[in-house]
C-alpha cells in the first residue's frame, strides 16, 4: 500500500455528540461490519462502556475504502468525550494527520468541543468540522455553524452536515476524508520509527502495542527495541484492527496497526515510546512522546470488614493490567486499617475504577473523600507533594501550602452568566475571560482551585444551567493558598480517615457538617461521646452524643427464644462491624456518611 493512499484520523467531540455512532456508519459503508449483525456503537466494547453508553478508551480500526477507482486505507480512532479521558484524545492525535470534529446540531459547541479542537490544532492536524444529528427536530444547523465559525475559527463552508443515526451525509464524510486530510509523511526507506500510542492487555496474547509507523516498515520476526525503556523483543505478529486483530505481513510507513511481541507486563511499556529495530537503535532519534497522564484526584480505598486486604491488592493488580492510568500505593489508617491510596484522572475515572473493583472483583470497599494533591514548602528543605490530607505536617513546619489550580472553561447560556459567576467566585475562582460564541451562548474562563471543582461543582453547574452548561478544565500549575488541615476527633482521638485539607474560610462550615453527620450515625454509648473539629490545636466546632440511658427489650415474644436470640445476634454483628476508636464504636456507615459530600447544598 502506497503511503499516499493512507489517511489517519480521529473522531473527536464533546461527550455524547455521536462519535461512536458515526464510527458505526463509517464501518458499515466500508464493509468492515455487517449492518444487520452489528450492535450500536460497536467500538464501545468494554462492558462498562456499553452500560454507561460512553466511550472510555480510544479505539482504532482500519477501513478499506474504494473511491474514484482508487483504494484507500483509512485508520480511524474513536475517542472518548469525557474530560477525565482527554489523555486518550491527546494520545490518539499523535497517530493522525486529521480529525473529524463532531458538533451536535442541537446542543451546539460545548466545552470539550473547544478543548478538543485546540488539542487538534496544537498538534497541527487538519480539522474537518462535522455537524451531527441534523435529523433531530431541535437541530439548529445554521446557528451551530455560526458558533463553529465564531468560536473555533473554522470556515462555515467546510462544515459537513450529517446524521450518524440515519446515515444521511455520511458518504460525503468519507469523500472529504480522502480529499482534505493529507496522507501521512514519513520515509519508507529510513530505519523503523513507530510511535506506541497505546497498549492494551489481552488475556490470551499478552500486551498488544498500538503503533503508528512513522518511518520504515515492520514485520514479524524483527527484533525491536522500545527506546525509552531499552527493552528488546522479538515481534511475533503485526496486523490491523478490523476492528478485531487481523494479522498482516507487515506494517508500512504511515500505517496504524498492532504489534505482539511476547511482552508480559503492561508496566514494561510506556505509552508514547518509540519502537525501532534493535540494529538501528543507535542511529535514530526518538519521537517526541507524551507527558504521562496527570493524576488529579486521589482517595483511599479500604476493604470493608467483609473483604480482606489481600483480595483488594490482587484486584488492584489485576485492574492495573487493563487500566494503567490509575496509581495505587499501600497506606494505613487507624480508623480503617490497611488499604491503598489511589490516584485518578478525574472523578468519573475514580467512580469507574471503584465500580470495577466492587463489581468485577466482588469487593466491598470504603472510599475516603476524594482530594487533590498539595505541594508543601517546608520551613527548611525542598518542596514536596502529598496526596493524602493525613500526611500534612504541622502548620509550624510549613512555610507555604500550594494547591493545584486549573483553567476552567464553561459554555453556558447568556442569561446564566450571573449565576455561574457567583458560583465560581464562591468557589474561590478568579475571572479570566468571557466570549460570546453566539448571541445566546457564552464561553467563560476562570482560574480555580481544582479542589473546588471536584466537590459537586459539576452538579451545581448543571442545576444553574438547567442541564445545558458544559465545562472543561486544564491543569494550570500550583498556587499558594491559605489552607489548613481540618481534624475530626471522636472522644478526643483523631479519626485520620476523616481529616481534610480545606481553605481556612471553609474549615468551620465543613467541620460542622461532618460532625452533624457523625452525630446521626454513631450510636449512643453508655457514656457521653464528644465530637470535635479542630484546626491545629484549636477546636472550631463540637457536637455531643449523649449517653444512652437504657438498652433492654421488654417483650417476651411468647417463648420465641430463637427470635430474641436472632435480634441479639444481629445487634452483636452490627457491633462487630464497627471500628473502635478511643473506646467509641463507629459504624462503617458513619464514615461513609461523613465522607459523602452530596446533599450538602
Amino acid at each position: 500500500m502506497k503511503t499516499r493512499s493512507i489517511r489517519n484520523f480521529s473522531i473527536i467531540a464533546h461527550i455524547d455528540h455521536g462519535k461512536s455512532t458515526l464510527a458505526d456508519r463509517l464501518l458499515e459503508l466500508t464493509g468492515a461490519i455487517d449492518p444487520r449483525k452489528a450492535c450500536d456503537q460497536v467500538l464501545d466494547s468494554l462492558s462498562l462502556e456499553r452500560e454507561r453508553g460512553i466511550t472510555i478508551k480510544a479505539k482504532s480500526v482500519t477501513l478499506h475504502y474504494h473511491h474514484c477507482d482508487r483504494d484507500y486505507v483509512l485508520n480511524l480512532i474513536d475517542t472518548p468525550g469525557h474530560v477525565d479521558f482527554s489523555y486518550e484524545v491527546s494520545k490518539s492525535l499523535q497517530a493522525c494527520e486529521g480529525v473529524l470534529l463532531l458538533v451536535d446540531a442541537a446542543q451546539g459547541v460545548e466545552a470539550q468541543t473547544v478543548a478538543n479542537a485546540y488539542l487538534a490544532d496544537e498538534a497541527g492536524l487538519t480539522i474537518l468540522p462535522v455537524l451531527n444529528k441534523i435529523d433531530l427536530a431541535m437541530a439548529r444547523p445554521d446557528e451551530v455553524e455560526a458558533e463553529i465559525e465564531h468560536s473555533l475559527a473554522l470556515e462555515r463552508e467546510a462544515v459537513l452536515r450529517v446524521s450518524a443515526k440515519t446515515g444521511q451525509g455520511v458518504p460525503a464524510v468519507l469523500e472529504a476524508i480522502v480529499a482534505r486530510i493529507p496522507p501521512p509523511g514519513g520515509d519508507p526507506a529510513a530505519p523503523l520509527r513507530a510511535l506506541v500510542f497505546d497498549s492494551v492487555f489481552n488475556d490470551y496474547r499478552g500486551v498488544v502495542l498500538h503503533v503508528r509507523i512513522v518511518d520504515g516498515r515492520l514485520g514479524p520476526g524483527e527484533r525491536v527495541r522500545l527506546m525509552a525503556s531499552g527493552r528488546e523483543y522479538d515481534v511475533d505478529e503485526v496486523g490491523h484492527f478490523r476492528p478485531e486483530l487481523r494479522k498482516a505481513r507487515g506494517l508500512e510507513t504511515g500505517e496504524v496497526g498492532y504489534v505482539i511481541a511476547a511482552i508480559r507486563d503492561l508496566k514494561d511499556v510506556r505509552v508514547g515510546d518509540t519502537l525501532t529495530t534493535a540494529r538501528d537503535a543507535g542511529r535514530v532519534a526518538a519521537l517526541p512522546g507524551y507527558r504521562p497522564p496527570l493524576h488529579t484526584v486521589f482517595c483511599g480505598f479500604y476493604p470493608d470488614v467483609a473483604t480482606d486486604y489481600t483480595a483488594l491488592r490482587e484486584a488492584l493488580d489485576r485492574l492495573a493490567l487493563s487500566d494503567p492510568s490509575f496509581s495505587y500505593l499501600p497506606e494505613s489508617s487507624d480508623a480503617l486499617g490497611f488499604g491503598f491510596r489511589c490516584g485518578f484522572l478525574g472523578l468519573l475515572h475514580l467512580e469507574i475504577v471503584k465500580e470495577r473493583l466492587e463489581r468485577d472483583h466482588d469487593l466491598a470497599l470504603v472510599q475516603t473523600l476524594p482530594n487533590v494533591s498539595y505541594e508543601i514548602v517546608p520551613a527548611a528543605g525542598a518542596p514536596y507533594r502529598i496526596d493524602a490530607p493525613g500526611k500534612m505536617p504541622d502548620a509550624n513546619l510549613i512555610r507555604e501550602i500550594r494547591e493545584p489550580v486549573v483553567l476552567v472553561s464553561l459554555i453556558v447560556g447568556a442569561d446564566q452568566v450571573g449565576g455561574i459567576m457567583r458560583l465560581c467566585i464562591e468557589r474561590r475562582g478568579s475571572f479570566v475571560s468571557q466570549e460570546y460564541i453566539s448571541t445566546t451562548r457564552v464561553r467563560l474562563q476562570f482560574r480555580m482551585p481544582l479542589s473546588e471543582i471536584i466537590h459537586d461543582f459539576y452538579d451545581r453547574l448543571k442545576s444553574i444551567t438547567r442541564g445545558y452548561g458544559t465545562m472543561d478544565y486544564q491543569f494550570a500549575g500550583f498556587a499558594a493558598a491559605d489552607l489548613v488541615r481540618l481534624r475530626i476527633l471522636v472522644a478526643r482521638s483523631e479519626i485520620d480517615a476523616l481529616s481534610l485539607v480545606v481553605h481556612r474560610s471553609q474549615a468551620e462550615y465543613r467541620g460542622r457538617k461532618i460532625l452533624q453527620k457523625l452525630r446521626k450515625e454513631i450510636p449512643r454509648h453508655l457514656f457521653e461521646v464528644a465530637l470535635q473539629a479542630a484546626v491545629g490545636g484549636k477546636i472550631i466546632a463540637r457536637e455531643t452524643i449523649s449517653a444512652l440511658s437504657k438498652d433492654v427489650t421488654a417483650k417476651c415474644y411468647g417463648g420465641d427464644v430463637t427470635r430474641k436470640r436472632k435480634l441479639l445476634e444481629k445487634q452483636k454483628e452490627g457491633k462487630r462491624r464497627m471500628r473502635a476508636v478511643g473506646g467509641v464504636e463507629i459504624p462503617q456507615k458513619a464514615f461513609l456518611a461523613a465522607l459523602r459530600t452530596d446533599e450538602e447544598n
Binding site: L526, S549, K550, V552, T553, C556, G558, G559, T562
Partner: protein, 398 residues
C-alpha cells in the same frame, strides 16, 4: 405422683377487633367466622403434639394472642382437647390473656368453670389519652371494671401495663401504677412500648407524626416501677415482671429457665428435646397445614416454618441469655452440667468483661445482672448469642 416429664403448652389465638398501632404480634382481624375451624386445627395440632411427645404432664397452659377472650368458644374447645390429649396436673397454672372489652362476666364465668385459674389482663394504661394514642379499644373505666370482675372470679390476676408511650409523663405513669396496685392484682407486667419495624407506629414516627421514643424517659419510668411496685409488695423477679410472693408466672418462668414448652397455633414457638421450632405466621397456611401430617419425623410439627437444634455451646449461651432476665440470674455450674460444656471456657472472658463494666455480678456459682445491667440488658445478653444453624422450611403443600 406421675413420673412423666413436666412441660408447658402455649396456645395462640390470633383474633383481634383491630390491630393496635404498635402491634407486631401474629394477629388476624375480621376472621372470627373461621374461629371454629381454627379451633379444630388447633385441636388436631394439640393431639399430634401429645402423641409425638408421649403425653407429658402439663404444669402450665397458656392461652395468648391476639385476644383469646374474643373467641371464648375456641378457647374452651381447645382446652377440652388439651385435657383429652395431655395429662394436665391438678395444680397446673392455666392462664388466659384477656382484653378489658371482651372480658365480660359471661366469658369469665365460662372460662373459670372450665378450670382457667389465672387471667392476664391487657390493661396497658388507666389514662384515656394514652389508651387512645395506643389505639386500644377500651377506656380507663372499662379497664378498672375488668380487673374487678377478674379479681372476683380468678385466684390469680395479672395486669399488663405499658410505659414509654409518647405523651406520657412520670406523673401519669405513677398514676397508672397506683391505679393498678389499688385494684390488688397478684402480678404486674410492665412493658416498655417497643417500636417495631413495619408497624403503623414506626411509620408515623418516620413521617414525624409521632414523637420518637426517648430512652431517658423510658429509663426513668422503668426505674419508677422498680421502686414503686416492690414497695407495694410486688417483688421484681424479671426485668419487666413483678409479683406478690409465690405468684410469679410459672409459664413464663419455664421460658426464662429455658425449660421445654410446647406451642400450638399461628406463629407459636415450641422447645422440646433440645429442638426449637416456630409455626407459620400465616393464618391460612396454618389452617391448611395444622391437621396434616408433618413431612419430617418429629420434631418439628406439621405447621412449622422453622426449626433448629442448637449445638451445645450455642444452647448454653441461650440458656444464659434467657436466664439473665430473671433477677435471680443463672447458675453457671448447673447450666454447664446441663449442656455438657463449660460456661467458664465458653463465656468466661465475656462474663469478666461485663463484670468489669459493672453490668454483671457474680454470686457464688451464679451470675446476675446488676441494677445498671438491668437497664442495659441487651448489651450483656448479646455476648451470649451464638449463631445457630436454623432451617427455614419452605411451606409444604397441603
Amino acid at each position: 405422683m406421675d413420673s412423666r416429664e413436666m412441660t408447658g403448652l402455649y396456645v395462640h389465638l390470633p383474633f383481634c377487633p383491630r390491630r393496635c398501632g404498635y402491634c407486631d404480634f401474629a394477629v388476624v382481624v375480621g376472621r372470627e367466622p373461621e374461629a371454629e375451624a381454627y379451633a379444630e386445627a388447633l385441636s388436631a395440632e394439640v393431639g399430634w403434639l401429645a402423641r409425638t411427645t408421649g403425653r407429658p404432664r402439663l404444669e402450665s397452659l397458656y392461652f395468648g394472642g391476639g385476644t383469646p377472650t374474643r373467641t371464648p368458644a375456641a378457647v374452651l374447645r381447645v382446652l377440652a382437647a388439651v385435657r383429652a390429649a395431655f395429662a394436665v396436673a391438678d395444680d397446673a397454672e392455666v392462664t388466659v390473656e384477656a382484653n378489658p372489652e371482651s372480658a365480660t362476666e359471661e366469658t369469665l364465668d365460662r372460662l373459670r368453670a372450665a378450670g382457667v385459674n389465672r387471667l392476664s389482663l391487657g390493661v396497658q394504661s388507666f389514662d384515656d389519652g394514652c389508651l387512645r394514642r395506643l389505639g386500644r379499644s377500651h377506656d380507663a373505666a372499662a379497664a378498672g371494671a375488668a380487673v374487678q370482675r377478674a379479681r372476683e372470679r380468678f385466684p390469680e390476676v395479672s395486669v399488663d401495663l405499658m410505659f414509654g408511650v409518647p405523651g406520657t409523663s412520670a406523673k401519669s405513669w405513677r398514676r397508672d401504677l397506683e391505679r393498678a396496685v389499688a385494684l390488688g392484682p397478684d402480678h404486674v407486667s410492665t412493658y416498655c412500648l417497643t417500636v417495631e419495624e413495619h408497624t403503623p407506629l414506626a411509620r408515623a414516627i418516620r413521617r414525624g407524626e409521632a414523637p420518637p421514643s426517648e430512652d431517658a424517659l423510658e429509663a426513668a419510668h422503668m426505674a419508677l416501677a422498680a421502686a414503686f411496685l416492690p414497695a407495694c409488695g410486688y417483688a421484681r423477679y424479671e426485668i419487666s415482671n413483678y409479683a406478690r410472693p409465690g405468684r410469679a408466672s410459672r409459664h413464663n418462668l419455664r421460658y426464662w429457665r429455658n425449660q421445654s414448652c410446647l406451642g400450638a397455633g399461628v406463629a407459636a414457638a415450641a422447645f422440646w428435646a433440645g429442638t426449637r421450632w416456630t409455626n407459620t405466621a400465616d393464618f391460612d397456611a396454618y389452617l391448611a397445614r395444622a391437621a396434616g401430617r408433618p413431612a419430617a419425623l418429629f420434631p418439628p410439627g406439621p405447621a412449622a416454618d422453622f426449626h433448629e437444634h442448637l449445638p451445645p455451646r450455642a444452647a448454653l449461651g441461650e440458656s444464659i441469655l434467657v436466664g439473665l432476665r430473671l433477677l435471680e440470674g443463672v447458675d453457671l455450674g448447673a447450666l454447664s452440667a446441663r449442656h455438657g460444656v463449660s460456661a467458664e471456657e465458653t463465656f468466661g472472658a465475656a462474663i469478666r468483661a461485663e463484670i468489669e463494666q459493672g453490668l454483671l455480678e457474680r454470686r457464688g456459682d451464679r451470675i446476675a445482672l446488676t441494677a445498671r445491667g438491668l437497664r442495659f440488658a441487651n448489651r450483656v445478653l448479646m455476648a451470649f448469642a451464638l449463631p445457630g444453624e436454623g432451617v427455614r422450611q419452605s411451606p409444604r403443600a397441603s
